[in-house]
Symmetry: C2
Subunit: 129 residues, 2 copies
């Protein structure tokens, strides 16, 4: 199998689906995924893993429920954040964004527990390029 | 401990050292590190882990020794590449670059085996911000 560099701009030009991550490479038993996002994802939680976000374009906000309180972190382009395992969170991007994520291979986009999934959110462990 | 978004441009403005990664966040037992690079690193190998590179600025090349042959991959800004475990490699950037790396916490910048380390290369498992 060939192993060549991946240009993120090119990958992002190959699909339009929102909240539907593509796996660009694997690092041991982790996936590096990219996604286009706009609007709101759903509240969900990954019980057994942290989840890393890096904003490639646009701005992403992530609402977090921590210790009974809720806060929202804002990630402009070029910002990174790790959601700790077991923390309920809801990513959103009113203006649209492109993001890079890192998580163990097999991690479901909607977590282990989640609210009802609307049609615009893809339930996936990541799609191949 | 506070957990806030990290702006990569800001982090990169806080140090000048070359080939001297800073750990911006941890994801489970992995580090996300950023580094400024210019010139040549050393030939080295990580026997037990893959290593992920994303170019934030500039251009990085990575020479690889695979199956007895040598090739070099070129990563312009916005490109990603994973060096497979056990593969001898030598990153280089004649014009300078800023890169993001992902690898297990504790991974040494010069790998498990390496050629002689020149003064300009930092032997580290990553520095704190």
């Amino acid at each position: 199998m060939s192993n060549e560099p991946v240009a993120l701009d090119h990958v992002l030009s190959t699909f339009d689906a929102l909240w539907s991550p593509r796996v660009i490479t694997q690092v041991n038993d982790y996936d590096v995924r990219v996604a286009k996002v706009e609007g709101e994802h759903v509240w969900h939680v990954h019980e057994h893993t942290d989840e890393f976000f890096l904003v490639l374009r646009g701005e992403l906000s992530i609402a977090l429920r921590e210790n009974g309180a809720e806060r929202t972190v804002t990630l402009p382009q070029g910002s990174a954040f790790t959601v700790p395992r077991g923390t309920e969170h809801r990513p959103a991007s009113p203006g649209g964004a492109a993001i890079l994520m890192l998580e163990p291979t097999g991690t479901l986009s909607v977590g282990d527990r989640h609210e009802e999934i609307p049609d615009h959110v893809d339930i996936t462990t990541g799609h191949a390029l």
